[in-house]
Symmetry: C2
Subunit: 199 residues, 2 copies
């Protein structure tokens, strides 16, 4: 059994995921969001792209059997298992600016953007190079007529997981989300582990 | 009356738009798409972000009175006039890779991505730094239940225009789209002009 790592509430990590390995992202308590980034370890200018992914998968509902594509039109990760089926690839990581914008009466936090920037800094990633993340377990509803977006609490339950298989050597950024709206107003940890044989 | 410039079919341009000036993008024949990018002229690491824009405007239907936001959470352009009301900010510029993917039996074209990369090269923009463009007049329908995306011909009519006021000094990239699906299978020019007094 692979070791389970904990990302404490409102923090983030970065690590290497080798081609063929599977990243399992677990929501240990339920209703928590985890922002995920992936860079090509051999050439960090290649990074996941929501636009390319939505283009090639032809849906905004990214789930099992879909792939996360890079800005260079190459598949980086394939979703091999999904307990939840509801994630977001439209909205950017929460940040100091989004806290000021959406929660003007609450303490400012550096958010997932700040956490990702710090965790990815040792890999040579500058903040401007951080794109829209794949927001695991995030529940964003789209009104088809008006286009209106609404962030609701995730539907993930305690222990639900998402598994993504690496299609190239990657540097992964991963958070336990810091925003109020995305997780129903509470801050919880995220667990993850790396499976070498898809188990 | 400001000079009207023509972007020939399947090509692109880049130019400077000063703070306070208004860019008018015109569909001269109807049903054509124009991919738009904007960079902060003073610091080209700042660029329009679909994720930030969707976050702050809380809709995927970007139109009059909405603003296009940067990756640094600052508004770059404000839409002051919109004859059409239907544009896309989900999908990436068509490219050699998207032609091979979506039109395997048709000649490959470098697409809006190649055209934008060439036009923006003199401003120091490398291809990896080109994000999801704001796709003026592009008609992408989202099925709210399934999340499925469908690219349909634009609803723009001959002479329809979109006006965007610059909120900082910008470098703009702008194309006449090269893809088959986005413009109903034909390749047409795009016109634009720069208005210094919003007229």
């Amino acid at each position: 059994m692979s070791q389970v790592f904990e990302i404490p509430p409102r923090s983030g990590v970065a690590f290497i995921l080798h081609e063929g390995e599977t990243l399992e992202v677990i929501d240990p308590l339920g209703q928590q969001v985890s922002d995920l980034l992936a860079f090509n370890r051999q050439d960090m200018g290649e990074v996941i792209s929501n636009g390319r992914t939505l283009d090639y998968e032809e849906t905004i509902r990214i789930t099992q059997r879909h792939r996360l594509w890079s800005n260079r039109s190459r598949p980086m990760l394939e979703i091999t298992h999904d307990d939840v089926g509801l994630h977001d690839f439209l909205l950017t990581p929460c940040s100091e600016a989004t806290f000021k914008h959406f929660y003007p009466d609450k303490p400012v936090h550096r958010g997932c953007m700040g956490n990702l920037a710090e965790a990815l800094w040792p890999y040579g990633v500058v903040q401007d190079a951080i794109p829209t993340a794949f927001n695991v377990f995030m529940n964003v509803q789209v009104d088809a007529d008006s286009g209106k977006l609404e962030v609701l609490p995730p539907i993930s339950k305690a222990g639900d997981c998402l598994r993504l298989r690496a299609l190239m050597d990657l540097v992964i950024g991963l958070t336990a989300c810091s925003a109020y709206a995305s997780n129903g107003g509470t801050f919880k940890p995220i667990h993850y582990r790396i499976l070498t044989d898809d188990r």
